[in-house]
């Protein structure tokens, strides 16, 4: 039975911070899982946070995602080529307009392997009523040793991110 072991947790302090980075990720697990609960210091609309791996730019990440919005029976489908760069996660808006923290999870199997690395992102945005699932690919054969989340605004105080290692044996 697989074990999900917390590696590190970051909780944003007063004043906020635009970037959360996990460095020197141990290579002795089979998979990684990142769970984030966050809100942005942003007044309205949708704020796009970016997710990057190692020191690569977001363009090394691609995705094919399905988005469902509240009240819509239709699943909208996007790919990177028609939508922009990969590594996107959508969380905003936040304090002043809503106290809601939103969440997303990223699951990366075989993160230390020497192959391209597919991964999934599941996201719920309670502010904009988006439900989002995406299949993604990190187009690099290097082991994943660093993960970074950043955006143009700040993650608000009490936003948190926990990185877990999955050990199957």
């Amino acid at each position: 039975m697989a074990n999900m072991i917390p590696i590190s947790t970051v909780t944003v302090g007063s004043g906020g911070s635009s970037t959360i980075q996990f460095s020197n990720i141990p290579q002795n697990y089979t998979d990684l899982k990142l769970i984030v609960s966050a809100r942005m210091n942003y007044g309205s609309g949708i704020n796009y946070s970016t997710f990057t791996v190692n020191s690569d730019s977001p363009s090394s990440l691609t995705y094919f995602k399905n988005v469902v919005t509240e009240g819509s029976a239709t699943v909208s489908t996007y790919s990177q080529s028609s939508y922009g760069t990969g590594g996107e996660v959508t969380i905003g808006p936040a304090p002043g307009t809503s106290p809601i923290f939103n969440s997303f999870e990223i699951y990366m199997p075989n993160y230390s392997g020497a192959t391209y690395k597919p991964y999934t992102v599941d996201l719920v945005n309670s502010n904009t009523l988006w439900f989002w699932m995406s299949g993604n690919m990190y187009y690099n054969t290097a082991p994943i040793t660093s993960l970074k989340l950043y955006n143009s605004y700040n993650f608000s105080q009490y936003s948190s991110a926990t990185l877990y290692g999955i050990r199957k044996y």
């Binding site: 590696i7 947790t9 004043g15 911070s17 980075q21 141990p26 796009y48 977001p58 028609s82 760069t85």
Partner: protein, 75 residues
């Protein structure tokens, strides 16, 4: 307001808060601008597709197709 990043070293557990470099600030602002532009493009494409769909359905209805027949065409 100072732009900062929180870095946690997963090997040591040490957490540090450091000020972003000018390159990091420029990168994140460029990414945000790219995402905003892509979102405008996506919404426009979605609206155009919806308008085309409604136009096609109206034309089919004018030809005498029932709503069920039109719906069956899109399955």
């Amino acid at each position: 307001m100072t732009d900062t990043k929180i870095v946690v070293n997963c090997e040591t557990g040490e957490t540090t808060v450091v000020t972003l470099t000018s390159e990091e600030i420029a990168q994140r602002e460029a990414d945000a601008a790219a995402f905003a532009a892509a979102e405008v493009e996506r919404v426009a494409a979605e609206e155009a597709a919806q308008a085309a769909k409604e136009s096609a359905q109206a034309k089919l209805a004018a030809l005498g197709l029932t709503a069920d027949e039109i719906a069956a065409l899109s399955k």
